[in-house]
Point group: C2
Chain length 217, copies 2
DNA sequence: CGATAATGTGAATAAGCATTCACATTAAGT
DNA sequence: ACTTAATGTGAATGCTTATTCACATTATCG
């Protein structure tokens, strides 16, 4: 019964295709016909796999959540000091968003949630989980002394989100004219300065981020 | 000829009403009928003042741009040291966004831009101007020594945007459960730490931000 | 091979909504 | 007060698009 597998594959194909449509045309441009065309079938065939457009949207959100969880897990397992893992995650996240521009468009679009509080709650949960993972890394940093104790880990996590979210938006709005990668590299410096323990402050700043060995002296 | 004035007032009423609809129903829920109902007229009457829905959206964007320019100008004229003006602007901005939740929904919604590159460019320009004003304040801070010289003012401006943008999104997604004001207060501390000159670093951190008198020693 | 369930097709349905139009009402200027 | 342009009204139009349905095709399993 390779049939069940086929079905799963088809569903994923469809979700990916939908992601592509959102990438190209925005959420407003998400039409069943476009999705079907990308898969290579006729619109009505989509209803063999999904109950309707809303279900396709849900599938996209599941896909995105999976991808996000993937990079978070990968970064968490990295054999690096906590803050380096965080920076690694930041890069991964940027790469992911650059590849699937639909991600911020979907997650941060109210359209998806209007009149669907269950979905809204699920998205909030996804973001919350992401933030919790980041906060966890920050707390590890606080435990090993690479992050000052008097900042709130959850606040730092939201600030971390603020490192690339505006960058992603500007990247989109400027049609790629805004260099998000450069911004993030530069911003990370100031970001880290703000949460590093006073003892590790360096005058030259810029590109050198202290490694984890910097236990409080 | 109070007629011309009346027309202007009507147009503004309509734009405000549209803003209210977006606030309540999201951009997807922006329907001519709802806008008309809020104004107290019938849908077809809207076409006496606007050529169509797209024109109404443009009017909303104009309104928003005006409001943003307003708080920026007000904050810039405040008789305070640059970084205090920036913090003041941050609070004003949060208040504005809390009152008109439609603002982030519109400005950062790709829906508005899809198939309308002119509008996209205009929005990008609005954001850019805002960022330029913030960067200007940062440069003033660098000039008077309250901000370190080795950070890029434009980068800081985007980071500043990142202070409340994620907060606004979380506020919306959590139906107000996320306390954006508290986040911003806390985040400002770490933000300022990150860009303050090394000499002014304080161990206790938290709520005390150095005043402008802190010329470099 | 033949039964059968899954998947794909094309045409038809129908609902939502912006927009238009012919006509009514209001208010400004003389 | 009368003319006229502006504004408002209600019904009608038409386009876009999701969705459905009867029928065709495919592939799996006995």
């Amino acid at each position: 019964m390779a049939r069940k597998l086929q079905t799963e594959i088809r569903k994923e194909q469809i979700a990916e295709a939908a992601l592509g449509v959102v990438h190209a045309h925005g959420l407003r441009g998400l039409r069943m016909e476009r999705v079907a065309q990308r898969v290579g079938i006729v619109p009505s065939a989509l209803y063999r796999h999904f109950s309707g457009k809303q279900a396709v949207i849900d599938a996209m959100l599941d896909l995105i959540r999976g991808k996000l969880e993937g990079i978070v897990a990968a970064a968490s397992d990295e054999p690096l000091p906590p803050m380096d893992r965080l920076r690694h995650l930041l890069r991964q996240h940027l790469a992911l968003v650059q590849h699937f521009q639909a991600i911020p468009r979907l997650l941060f679009s109210d359209e998806v949630c209007v009149g669907n509080s269950a979905r809204k709650a699920r998205i909030y949960e996804t973001i919350s989980r992401y933030l919790e993972a980041v906060a966890g890394l920050v707390r590890q940093g606080q435990a090993d002394g690479s992050v000052r104790d008097d900042v709130d880990a959850d606040t730092v996590a939201v600030m971390y989100l603020g490192l690339f979210q505006p960058a992603a938006i500007l990247m989109f709005m400027s049609d790629g004219g805004f260099d998000a990668a450069r911004h993030i590299d530069r911003a990370w410096g100031a970001f880290y300065e703000g949460i590093a323990p006073p003892s590790s402050k360096v005058t030259t700043h810029s590109h050198n981020r202290p490694h984890a060995g910097a236990k409080r002296p």
